[in-house]
Symmetry: C2
Subunit: 532 residues, 2 copies
């Protein structure tokens, strides 16, 4: 159905189309980019590169201590100091990923997890305070006259700064916890069929799943408050008035996101969906990887990576995994930087890094073992590769559940699974044709769209620059109180009228009846007294 | 900002892009088109023409008695008999438009209006019965193996037939009364900021306007029931089970519509917006019209049309209008087939038909006098021409209100206005620069989009053909009851638990207190008796 030529041609056509938008936007724009570190930066980076190639100037503003955001030739990097050294930062991240594999008691693990989260929040908040109180930098940013701010709102410092600088803003996000996306866009969010983050519910829920769907956000509200309140205080301090988080987020003109992964639900006109922005661009494989694939014979290969955050795991778990991998005929390319498991079979090759999307795009790739992060899931879908999913944290559990619901893969609990579980899961997704068919169907739906996501992202950023925001896409709901939004005042007013009318009618009837009865009574009495 | 070359180039690019979709869709598709007559057909006709030019075969199925749907070379016309002659049909339509200008008492006019509506409904329903009971035709349609049905759901017969034939369906609509679009797509519909049809509210409403917004749908529910119930009965008879209207409408895979004209509000992922599909294609003006424009001098022209339904008006009103038109220095091109008003000034030219969009696109056009139908409004916006609006019926009042709110025109009540009102309105929109600036801003926002609406329409129709529907865009809300949708069962359950726990806690406390007090009481009593 799809030819190899089609996608390059499609890119060419959308490129031509968007080139006309650049023509439309006569001068080059100035874009202030406030990214969120980690894998979030990976897709935003591609958008910044595309903006540069269309003649815009991007300034990327980031803490001097970070993971992936380094100097590149398509943007100007501006850093600011934060109250944390690179070592402390790395240690914090490592403790977060290591904690996952520790087999402590749930409550102890939860309390340590909360502690790490609190420390991370402190660092994030501290960095934001440093940034917003850096008067020289703020003056410089004000003087630069940026046309648009591009930021990932999962780190709320970007939205606060954008609002403070009063620059039209585009949010670029993968997901945001605590339903802040719904709140910030005034988007309806029915609990009955929109599965909440971390519930692992699908859109079709049983009664008890719907109860869970309603209780989860309540249970998480403490964490949500801890996550967002410091930034609301910071904004309130800057603006010298109470600024709730929703106000900070509602400053955005357009939300470019891939957070609606699968289940159809209400959206707003300023939400633009770019799912899979990362899997369009492909590079040829290096000789090393071509070699592995050619040597794999008719059985082909399996790609295995637990994402950019996790590159090593406890030895015992690694050995269990290695044992399972040794029992399939495919060659396994495993991104792993830890100690080599002693039982590693000949078919398994450890690599420090792998070109994940390019490998998944190879016709000899039979399966993908993934932690089911957003990027990985979309690369699996784009390339039509069935998945064995080992979700670790965040939205990964939900992602895995969604793929499993669609019959495109198998989910394993990496802590509890045995070697046999992994072996069986791999054999199932490789040999049972239904997994391949389901992922191919998803792939063909996903790739069938009128505009490529990268072009769409750039279109909307330029749109906001051209029109100095997008006030025509801002719903009037932002200007209503919660009771006005739900028409409670109108309902109360109408109810009061109905009740008043009913009361008066009742009183009139009662009075009429009394008069009538009274008259009759009097008449009867009179008649009685006459007859007596 | 925009060059003359840009839009043809943009069409070329989107054309190339969509051509790739055709490549994607290897064979040509068979499209069954069930249009709604009148101006609704005018934009659907363009989509059918585009489908034909991309290699698809379209069969247009329509009653043999109709207004505008005639044989053309880009589709096969199939007609079916209806229980009404062309004369009766024309008379019915004429009585509808004539009624508007009659100056009877409101109640009398309302009752006549209801009678005409009832007669129209009877004809529409009768036609549908004829179609659905025409066994030969239904057999033929079944045998043809259509890939997709394209229909305008404002005439509910199309959706009923589509569901009956079990063919994936795309709705193409301009507007649909009684919030059936919200119901059919399970789209949330907040009363607090989404203005209801006929209320003439804007998105920013006062308290009383919000009360009106809530009461209007209640008041119109009788008419809504009369409009839709006959088709629900027809469907129930066909399917041998109760089929509510929402079920008929929820059969559609994709809704291509321009019914979100302006105010941002919740939408669903299968709603695709194509506003202004009719104003992209332009033809050169004929010598006759070029002549009028050239002769108009520096003052330019004013275009005046009350739409395809109304081409003549009562003589007195026509004379009032003619008097006003004579007082402006512009040349007025007036589409009018009635008797020539005796006071017609030299600057006013009566024509039986005019190329509205081409004239509005001419740089010498200063203003547009319109009944503010959907097509006219968009042609005004696309071409950036300020408007004097004289809404007559249907959604026209709302359209006019929306343009007025945005400062792009002036609304007049055609029954109550004086000659001076029209003169002043015309002079205002022509001489007050703010009207031109506002409509130009609207125009630039409206035309700035990543894909042209005609291409988008064709893309989604082909998408539904390629994937045999779009079940991945169907929200799970369709499978919930109303109380499940609003989580009333979950809320009730949780409330019951909270109340039970509170009740038990209260009882335990009360019991504890009693025991405690009882003991104390007994102790006190014992102490008392000892001391005594």
């Amino acid at each position: 159905m799809t030819t190899g030529l089609q996608f390059p041609l499609q890119r060419l056509a959308t490129g031509l189309l968007l080139l006309l938008s650049v023509q439309h936007w006569a001068e080059s724009g100035k874009v202030l980019v406030l990214p969120t570190d980690g894998s979030h930066w990976l897709s935003m980076r591609e958008v910044v590169q595309e903006l540069h190639s269309r003649g815009h100037q991007a300034v990327v503003l980031t803490p001097e201590v970070n993971m992936h955001i380094k100097e590149e030739d398509f943007f100007t990097l501006t850093t600011y100091a934060i109250p944390c050294t690179q070592d402390e930062f790395n240690h914090l991240l490592l403790s977060h990923t290591q904690l996952f594999f520790e087999t402590e008691h749930f409550l102890k693990k939860f309390s340590r997890s909360m502690e790490i989260l609190k420390n991370m929040s402190l660092v994030a908040h501290g960095a934001c305070v440093e940034l917003l109180h850096n008067e020289t930098l703020i003056r410089h940013l004000n003087a630069t006259s940026f046309d648009v701010v591009l930021t990932d709102p999962v780190y709320l410092c970007g939205p606060v700064l954008a609002k403070y600088l009063s620059i039209p803003t585009v949010f670029f996000l993968r997901y945001i916890p605590c339903d802040l996306d719904f709140k910030g866009t005034q988007c309806p969010n029915p609990y009955s069929y929109v599965p909440k983050l971390l519930t692992m519910n699908s859109e079709h829920m049983t009664f008890l799943q719907r109860v869970k769907n309603m209780l989860y956000p309540l249970a998480l509200s403490y964490i949500c408050h801890a996550f967002s309140a410091p930034f609301a205080s910071l904004a309130s301090e800057l603006f010298q008035r109470a600024v709730p988080v929703v106000d900070i987020l509602s400053h955005a003109s357009v939300w470019l996101s891939d957070f609606v992964k699968d289940f159809p639900r209400p959206i707003m006109p300023n939400m633009i969906f770019l799912a899979g922005i990362n899997c369009l661009l492909k590079n040829p494989l290096s000789q090393e990887f071509e070699g592995y694939i050619n040597a794999s014979g008719e059985h082909g290969i399996v790609v295995f990576s637990l994402g950019s955050m996790v590159s090593e795991i406890p030895e015992k778990k690694a050995m269990e995994i290695a044992a399972a991998l040794g029992k399939i005929p495919q060659t396994v390319l495993w991104r792993y930087t830890g100690t080599r498991p002693s039982n590693l079979a000949n078919n398994t090759i450890l690599v420090k890094w792998l070109p994940q999307n390019d490998l998944l795009g190879h016709p000899k790739t039979r399966a993908f073992i993934t932690h089911s992060g957003s990027h990985g899931i979309y690369e699996g879908i784009c390339n039509g590769v069935p998945m064995v999913m080992m979700p670790l944290f965040g939205d990964q559990m939900d992602n895995a559940k969604r793929m499993e619901t669609k019959g495109a893969g198998v989910t394993l609990n990496v802590l509890e699974m045995t070697s046999e579980d992994l072996e069986n899961a791999l054999k199932a997704v490789i040999n049972d044709r239904s997994y391949k068919e389901n992922i191919m169907r998803l792939s063909s739906l996903h790739k069938d769209r009128p505009v490529e996501p990268l072009d769409l992202a750039v279109f909307w950023i330029e749109f906001v620059m051209r029109h100095k925001g997008a006030p025509h896409l801002r719903p009037a709901a932002h200007d209503l109180t919660w009771y006005q939004y739900h028409s409670l005042d109108v309902i109360g007013f109408l109810l009061a009228i109905v009740l008043t009318v009913a009361f008066i009618a009742f009183k009139c009837c009662a009075c009429g009846c009394r008069k009538c009865c009274g008259k009759k009574g009097r008449v009867k009495k009179a008649q009685k007294s006459k007859t007596h």
